[in-house]
């Protein structure tokens, strides 16, 4: 809080400070939104590879399901990305 108040005094206008906070929020927001889907996609693809290695004859079906799983998991990261673009000053 001390740091923030020092920062706030160093700006001549409050609007500039708010713009900066918005940019920080946008960057942090996208980063935080990417954590969960990153882990999730890792789990999906890892298990799909295990399944394909165990049963290579079912690789086609597993691949289709894997892309579906990736698409659903990825949606959360993409919503974070959209918020990032919307918040950009």
């Amino acid at each position: 809080m001390l740091l923030l108040s020092i920062l706030a005094e160093s700006f001549t206008e409050a609007g500039e400070f708010l713009e900066g906070l918005k940019a920080i929020g946008a960057g942090l927001g996208y980063g935080l939104a990417a954590i969960g889907p990153g882990i999730g996609i890792g789990i999906v693809v890892g298990n799909a590879i295990t399944a394909m290695a165990r049963q290579p004859e079912s690789a086609g079906m597993v691949r289709t399901t894997m892309f579906l799983g990736i698409a659903f998991t990825e949606a959360l990261a993409l919503i974070g990305f959209v918020v990032f673009i919307l918040l950009l000053p």
């Binding site: 086609g60 079906m61 399901t65 579906l68 949606a75 993409l78 990305f81």
Partner: protein
């Protein structure tokens, strides 16, 4: 936006194009619309060209080879995996949608155009709303209005007490969120790809002006990312198509 003395164009410059024809009217035509016209022409040209070739000989070659393997791909790895043989009547719709989306995505990496038309929200949202209408109509037609509502709001195999939580979630996710997540998935992937390519291109240009050697690294990344974006263009068209097939299949054959 200035980043460390690097002139990065503002986001609106990358995605908003001025009208070329019919400026200022509702029917104003800009680069995005021209790319869509091109994608429609390419899709029509591919299939009509292939059809004309089949009149000469039934052995696939050239254009008819591409069209045939495309139709085979949609039939084998989209429809058969998600809807079964009943879904074969949606083959024309899904195939044309796949090729249209692919042609309007792939302009992202074609030199001279280098703009993915689907990074504007209009057509992805329109297609997603069309898919929403189709799967709801198919659901009502094959299960009846109340049967469709019952099967989609009260999924079988769930303990009765849990319906208090499950039913609102299903209501929101099936009827409200689905079309938007379908549209946003395509749109945001294309926006992200375009931003990525622009970032590395700007870096390369700036470093080339100051230090010739320094441009090597971002240029290598640019080449790598261009290859990656070709993959993403095809993959996003595929995912849009297969999710459409999953949604239609889900309202055709409810879980028991």
């Amino acid at each position: 936006m200035d980043l460390l003395a690097l002139e990065f164009p503002p986001v609106s410059h990358l995605f908003e194009w001025p009208d070329i024809f019919l400026d200022g009217t509702v029917f104003g035509i800009n680069k995005t619309v021209l790319i869509y016209f091109g994608a429609v022409a390419a899709t029509l040209g591919l299939f009509f060209g292939a059809g004309r070739r089949y009149k000469q000989s039934l052995v696939p070659a050239g254009m008819s080879n591409v069209a045939e393997s495309g139709v085979d791909f949609i039939e084998d790895s989209v429809i058969m995996q998600t809807m079964g043989p009943d879904g074969l009547k949606y083959l024309p719709f899904l195939t044309t949608m796949f090729f249209f989306l692919f042609f309007s995505n792939i302009t992202e990496v074609i030199p001279g155009i280098q703009f993915p038309a689907n990074s504007r929200m209009a057509i992805p949202l329109l297609l997603a709303l069309l898919v929403w209408v189709i799967y709801n109509v198919v659901g009502v037609r094959s299960q009846g209005f109340f049967g469709y509502l019952k099967n989609s709001l009260f999924p079988p195999g769930v303990p009765v007490a849990l319906y208090i939580i499950v039913t609102p979630i299903e209501l929101v996710s099936t009827f409200v969120v689905r079309p938007f997540s379908l549209a946003i998935r395509l749109w945001a992937n294309m926006v992200a790809g375009h931003l990525l390519l622009v970032t590395f291109a700007v870096l390369t240009a700036t470093l080339w002006e100051s230090t010739y050697v320094g441009a090597a690294l971002p240029f290598a990344m640019l080449v790598l990312m261009t290859g990656f974006e070709i993959l993403v263009s095809a993959l996003q068209a595929f995912i849009f198509t297969i999710l459409t097939a999953v949604y239609i299949g889900g309202s055709m054959h409810p879980e028991h």
